[in-house]
Assembly symmetry: C2
Homo-oligomer: 126 residues x 2
DNA sequence: TGCGGTACTTACCTTTTGGTGAGCAAGGAG
DNA sequence: CTCCTTGCTCACCAAAAGGTAAGTACCGCA
């Protein structure tokens, strides 16, 4: 994938934002990084139930290209890579909060199932 | 009408909300319905540049099943169907506003292309 | 008579997305 | 010596999403 200019022309801001968060795990990665500040690759993998390494890398790379996350590589003997949110990523997370509330509301109203990730806040309901 | 339980268990509210707005045109449909109140099928189609009838119907049906839009059929000689937002759909739209702002901001910052729908404000016409 | 508009459905195809499992390089545990 | 760990990459597949074109039934317009 090319670095910055990801997708075609957008119709509106929602369009552009949705493009950037679309992906099975991106919202979760954003949330993990938001709640924990800095996370290593394997920590992220363990935090997302069922994610494959390929997808996690792929999403992380896209988010890096989109300027949402910072990636820091330590040239150590066991590889160590740390991910954290950029200002833009943090702002995106803020912008996602109302959406998260709407979703939580919806889950309650419709009695939908919720799966909690091990290591994250077990009670998403509040 | 309980054709609701679309996707598997959610991990958080963002997940549930993203599931409901994921789809190439759903955000736009939401926006059209929000700004115009009531729209007919063909009006929606003309408002979304490049949408196919199949996708529009499909998205509209899903959104109906998800309780986001109301669908009113008039048994008239030329078929007439009107779509409008439900309370839930309107609330979702409200929740999407910050995201839209973030996206608009991003478009400006990165100098991305914007395509205007005929009927909306146009600036970069071809 | 023939076309265009209304709101779809259906069949078929391509593109995109996501998943599986392997391998790599280097070290530590058993 | 072999397995497990870290953070990936690569090849291959399956499923989902989306697009194209046609058909349906009926009407008004020229």
């Amino acid at each position: 994938m090319a670095q910055a200019p990801r997708n075609g022309p957008y119709i509106c801001g929602i369009d552009a934002a949705l493009d950037v968060v679309s992906g099975k795990w991106k919202g979760l990665v954003l949330w993990e990084l938001h709640t924990h500040g800095v996370r290593r690759f394997a920590e992220l993998r363990r935090a997302l139930p069922g994610v494959s390494e390929k997808m996690l890398t792929q999403h992380l790379r896209q988010m890096e290209a989109d300027g949402l996350v910072d990636r820091t590589v330590y040239a150590e003997v066991p590889p160590k890579v740390e991910y954290s949110l950029t200002a833009s990523g943090a702002a995106l997370n803020e912008a996602l909060l109302p959406l998260g509330e709407w979703g939580r509301d919806r889950i309650h109203r419709h009695g939908l199932d919720v799966v909690a990730a091990p290591g994250t806040s077990a009670s998403t309901a509040s």
